[in-house]
Each structure stands twice: as C-alpha cells, then as structure tokens.
Symmetry: C2
Subunit: 247 residues, 2 copies
C-alpha cells in the first residue's frame, strides 16, 4: 500500500463519524464504496478511522489525517440534529469560524416551502469560513471542502452522490492495476513461493487471502502494480507457482 505523496501517488484517509457505527446499530456501507471508488480512479486509500460524535475526537483525527495524506474524506454528522457536530468540529480543527453560509442558506431556501426553513434545518447551512460547498443532489443540504478535507453526509445514497460530484476535482495518480489468481490450495502451501516472488518483483504488491470454498481452505492471490508489464510477468510467475503446488 503506497504511503506519503511520492511521484504519481495520490493518497487518502477516510474518517467515518458516528456513534451508530461503533454501537453496531448501523452497519457502515461507505468504507467499501469509497475504497472501490478511489482504487478505480488511482487514489490509494491508506487509512480509515471510525470515531464517535465527540468533538475532541473528530478534531484530533482530522488533524492527524489531513497532515498525512493528499486528501481526507469524512462521512456523517452533517444533518440538522443536536448530535450532528461534524461541521463545527472541522471548523475547530482548522481554527476557523463557522456560521450560516449565504450560499448554503440560498440552496435550502430554494428547497423548502416558505416558512419551513426552521432553525434546526438552518443548522445544515453552517459551513466553516473559507470552505467550498459540495453539491447534494439527493436532499440538497450541501457538504463542503476545506483545505484537503471533504466533508460528506453519512447516508450512503447522499454520500455516493457527493463523491461523484467531488471526483472531477481530484488529482489522481497512476492507476493501480491488479490481477487475481485463484488457487485451490490452503495459502500455507503457497507461502514460501509467494515470498520469493514478492522479492523478485519488488515493484508489485502481492497479497494472499485465505478463504473457505465449499468447506475447503482456498486462496486468492492478488498482484497489484502500477506498471502493466511487471504486473503480467509477476502474475505469470504466480500462476506457474500455483500449477507446481497443485501438481
């Protein structure tokens, strides 16, 4: 897994905010979505954290992650209720003020019937000073970007729409390519050869993933590399190792 911000590597951290994920009440669906999405556009997701709706914990995590990766994404905690404290926490993390944003207010005013933009709903227009809005085509209340941090809703359909609207603004790296080799063997029977192949192809990342198939232990070997030629040569070598182990 690539880290830092070396040539052609664009990195990301993802912060999931919400007591409901940590209690088990809600099963997160955003991590897998964002992981797939970023991989597809050539951004390496390097770390995920899930933290509760506690201001100090959000501030700490945002500040640690934003210093470390090219981009940070957050999900959760930008609704109208008292437990939605993400926007205020992000403002605190950046040391900027926060208030109702005229652009966000205009979006909500256009969306709700006259007189329906209650104080609670207006909370959703609170945006840290200096942030850009992220469009929410689903339920209108916007997310926002400040610095390298992209703040999105937790509801998966809204979060996914926000990722779509952010994606064209992101710098993307050389895409990580991958090949998968399925081996009808427990991974312990491949382990020594895979270690040798990893050493022989240091520009690749070779992962070995045990699974159970029809009650047998089998293995998926995934070879990842940014260079097509190296990827093909390493994959052929793994395939040959699997054939030999099965022979």
């Amino acid at each position: 897994m690539a880290e830092g911000d070396a040539q052609n590597e664009v990195t990301a951290g993802f912060l999931v905010i919400g007591d409901e994920i940590l209690s088990g009440r809600t099963k997160d669906k955003n991590i897998g979505f964002l992981a797939d999405y970023l991989t597809a556009i050539g951004i390496d997701l390097c770390e995920v954290r899930i933290v509760p709706d506690i201001r100090e914990r959000i501030v700490e995590a945002v500040n640690e992650l934003r210093a470390r990766y090219t981009y940070i994404f957050t999900s959760g905690g930008i609704g109208p209720t008292h437990d939605d404290i993400t926007a205020d926490s992000i403002a605190a993390a950046f040391g900027v003020s926060i208030d109702v944003d005229p652009r966000a207010r205009a979006i909500l005013e256009a969306h709700y019937p006259p007189g329906q933009l209650t104080p609670a709903r207006l909370r959703m227009a609170r945006i840290p000073d200096g942030a850009d809005l992220i469009e929410n085509p689903v339920s209108k209340a916007p997310g926002f970007r400040i610095g390298n941090v992209h703040v999105m809703a937790g509801v998966p359909s809204i979060m996914q729409a926000m990722v779509d609207s952010i994606a064209p603004t992101l710098k993307t790296g050389a895409k990580m390519l991958s090949r998968t080799v399925d081996a009808d063997l427990p991974e312990s029977r491949l382990a020594e050869r895979l270690a040798e192949i990893q050493q022989a192809f240091p520009e690749t990342l070779i992962g070995s993933y045990p699974r159970t198939t029809d009650g047998r232990f089998t293995t998926q070997v995934v070879i990842r590399c940014r260079n097509e030629d190296s990827l093909e040569r390493a994959t052929s070598t793994v395939e040959e190792a699997v054939r030999q182990a099965l022979a």
Copy 2:
C-alpha cells in the same frame, strides 16, 4: 459514546489490518460483528482504525489505541504468508521478542499430517514473548493476547470463533440499553425537540438517524442509557415529541 475508563465503563478499540480492505477488494465484515458483540456484553467500542500491512503503521496504531482503551482487538495478518506481519508488528509495539512458540507449535503439529508442518505454516506459531494463546477451533492456528491487545484472524468465521473464546475473559461494564423510536418524518422536523430532550436527560445518549423509506425521508431516534428508568422516561418523551410533530 463513553470514553476512558470511568466507573462501570469498559472501553475498546478495534484495529483492522490489511491492504485488501483499503483497496476495496475485500469488504470488511468484522467491524459490524464486533460492534454488535461488544455492545451486547456491555463494552463500548470507541474507535476503529483500518491500516495497511505496513509494520510502522501497525505499531503506531496499536500503541496509540492500547494506551487509550481498556481492550484492543485486531483482525488480519496472522496467516502463513509473507504479507502476514501482524504478530511481528505487535511484538515490536510491545518491545518484546518473537519466536516460534512451543504451545502453538504443538497445536499445529497435532493438526497437520507428519511432514506437512512446513516453514511457512510454522510462521503461524510465531507468538510474541509473554503472550497467551487464543484458541482457533476453525483452522487451529491460534491468535494471542498480550497485555490488553487481542490478536485475531481476519477471516470472519475464524475471527468470530476467537471472539467467542475471548469473551469469558473480558471484564464487562454495565450494559448499555437502548430503545428505538421510528418517526415518519424528516429529522429536521424533530431536531429542536430532540436537542431539548437530550438536555433534559443528560444521562442518556440520543441519536437521530435519517433514512429513506419508500422514497420519503424518515428518522430513527435511538435512546441509549445504562439506567433502565431514565431510558424509559426519555423514550416516552421522545415518543410524545414525535406524536406532536406528526399532529
């Protein structure tokens, strides 16, 4: 969400280790399982991190989390292949040596046919000095506990069996009770009353979770509390607020 280690509060952090989760290739199933399990036995899961198979990143996360919570759990990276570096990383985090453990070796020797305990498989018997083993009824290679850190497999069926074998050894807190109130309203129409109710019942945690139901925005309100009486009174107050908002 409770933090720290105050009276009757037992806290936990969960560290998921593996490139395959961050690339999206494997969708994590362990976070939701462990969140539900710990909630059920009265332990507060306070933070989750997902990190790649990079030693420094594992060491850093383990050391930060183990200083902060009563218990740490990890999943992933304890198999026989070159990318399984969790045990060595945990030893490094604790500053202890690591070698093939006679107890773990005996388990593997009893499991594999004579001559089949290859050097790769023997890697799975590498256990940090001073650790206790965690039984693996599924595929035998054990996990381990060192200090407050419980190191488990990433394959969900094995991880779940390991949690079952650990659970009786854990100190558990007063169980967090919860009630759910479904409201056929967007959460913005409840937000002001919920904030007031949260203030009136500071011993409870009131969460508001927007969702879409048949294309409408609806809300689940979850009231959590360790005290049954407070929980019931707060829940009744929320139910009354929903009735008034619908009227």
